[in-house]
């Protein structure tokens, strides 16, 4: 099954400010009592979007001006904490196709790329400028160019970071490695048979 080549993500954006936004905040653990990822999008950032009584709070994702946004902008160390793929899955299933942040936690980054959802970094000053532009004009189109590693918005262009391996995986449609891994199985079996602890 050939995967899509991801060169460009284009859409409207929303800024969820803050550093160290952890996966418990992205998707609180109680919503992980599920055997499929379906429907997780609804619970994205649930506890920061709702009061303990379930009333909607003032939050960018509750603001109708940002409905339909497909690019999420945030701060430093985004996605830290648990390895739960429920976090990027919730973001993806809420309609997002890319995240821009100052930096990402490692496992979150890998999980996201594996879903074909680019996570690109930008420096703090550029992020502030981008966030301000998005707030001023929520209808503005933001474009992440995976190939040239730039983010374009409202006539501006800022550089963004994306490791070579991840970039190549997205561009060449290898972001979900399962097919490649399966092709290597004969070599896997040969290597495993030489390792004592792996013998049945």
């Amino acid at each position: 099954m050939a995967l899509e080549n991801i060169h460009l993500v284009r859409g409207r954006a929303v800024h969820v400010p803050g550093d160290d936004i952890d996966t418990d905040r992205i998707i609180p653990a109680r919503f992980m009592k599920c055997v499929t990822f379906d429907g997780l999008g609804e619970y994205l950032f649930y506890d920061t979007r709702h009061t303990p009584d379930g009333e909607k709070k003032d939050h960018p994702l509750n603001d109708p001006r940002f409905d339909g946004a497909s690019i999420l902008i945030s701060g430093n160390n985004f996605g830290c904490g648990s390895s739960r793929e429920h976090a990027p899955q919730a973001i993806y299933r809420a309609g997002f196709r890319a995240v821009i942040a100052e930096s990402f936690a490692e496992i979150f980054f890998g999980n996201s790329i594996q879903l074909g959802m680019p996570c690109v970094t930008a420096d703090a000053a550029d992020l502030r400028e981008l966030a301000a532009a998005v707030r001023a004009d929520p209808s503005m189109t933001v474009e992440i160019d995976v190939k040239d590693r730039v983010v374009r918005f409202g006539g501006e262009e800022i550089p963004c970071g994306l490791r070579d391996g991840a970039r190549q995986s997205l561009l060449e449609g290898h972001w979900d490695p399962i097919q490649d891994l399966l092709e290597g199985v004969p070599e896997v079996e040969a290597l495993a048979s030489g390792l004592e602890y792996m013998r049945a």
Binding site: N76, R84, G110, G165, L181, A192, E196
Partner: protein, 475 residues
Amino acid sequence: MGKSLFQKVWDAHSVRELPNGQTQLLIGTHLIHEVTSPQAFGMLRERGIPVRFPHRTFATVDHIVPTNEVAEPYSDPLAQAMIEELRKNCADHGITFFDTNTGHQGIVHIVGPEQGITQPGTTIACGDSHTSTHGAFGAIAFGIGTSQVRDVLATQTIALNPLKVRRINVDGELAPGVYAKDVILHIIRLLGTKGGTGFAYEYGGSVFDGFSMEERMTVCNMSIEGGARVGYVNPDETTVEYLEGRPYAPKGAAWDHAAERWLSFASDPDCDYDDVVNIRAEDIAPTVTWGITPGQAVFIHENIPSPDDGETESARESISEALEHMSFAGGEPIKGIPVDVAFLGSCTNGRLSDLKEVARFLEGHKVNPRVKAICVPGSQAVGKIAEELGLDRIFKEAGFEWRAAGCSMCLAMNPDKLIGNQLCASSSNRNFKGRQGSPTGRTILMSPLMVAAAAVTGEIADAREVFGILEPAGV
């Protein structure tokens, strides 16, 4: 030039380079639990792919199991559905499952070592970030996402980039009342919650040489809180001794051979690290968190910082946000803050040595009546030995609830949760907003004995004072 353990294990498990430049890495041992595996089995079913090495996957149930009821069906139908799904997946694919009726069920990071499944020089993966715990044995152990759980089930491999290696030496002697938990909280405080990004942490120095396997596990467990995906300690005689006689450890002639091979994985003395950090054990005091990330920590005798203490605008904002959530003023002492709940357990500190150490001091003390205190053994085996030693009696007499094995109040997927803005003195590893089940709940991370001190006094306290542990002069 010598090689580090990381490099040796990586090289021994590299299958080939993938088209995207990543390495296809063989995962020798795969551990699964009920929360992050069902979707992976679902993906296999969808594509009609079998489990390639079922004998190298081991399952247990920990996150959702209630620790206050053992009979099924559980009162929570979703929890019941999750355990049944895992049972079915294991049965369908011929995977060993340490189910609740086996006497071996428990938190996955406690069960692997105690069964002798976790071994030096191996690669381990589990759909859980605290898989780094297994690095205590000189294994390279990765927390992975659910799609990668699928990859391991289907191919026994994952696609990865190699990591750099940072050697962290802790030399000298820890003062009485200072524990492995303080060591790792201190390391994270120094290097930051994302200081470990891109690195494997290799812990060493005289403190680690002297540590038991359980202490090493406590430190490796929280590598992920320091941003490092992997943390490990080189295997030595302590490692070999721990593994001898365990159910899955090699036996007879294979044993001698295995032990020798294991030790050969230790980093060579002349290997080149990408970074080296040196820490003096004498500089570490009992450490507690005050904020909403594990890096926001102070020594017990220090004050909580104020926003003005932040060096950058974003640091000041982080401090303000944390103080607001914790309802702390900033600039006040951490000692003396009232607590509502005391939680002793988790894959960081739910092992036998943790319970023994606390019981040693707790005997004769009573939990403050304002505090709800629970003690949750990390595995059924830990619970059983603790009961044989009479530790359960000491905990119960002091006023702790004595529970069945599981993750319990470490996270909010079972009945144990904070209510409202309760403040919990916790031996677990995460103090994120909402982590313990109430969006406004508050968590202070600390060593098990400090949790006991908080339970007894009803406030954040210095265990050394509460339990009369003498400090050497000058600390």
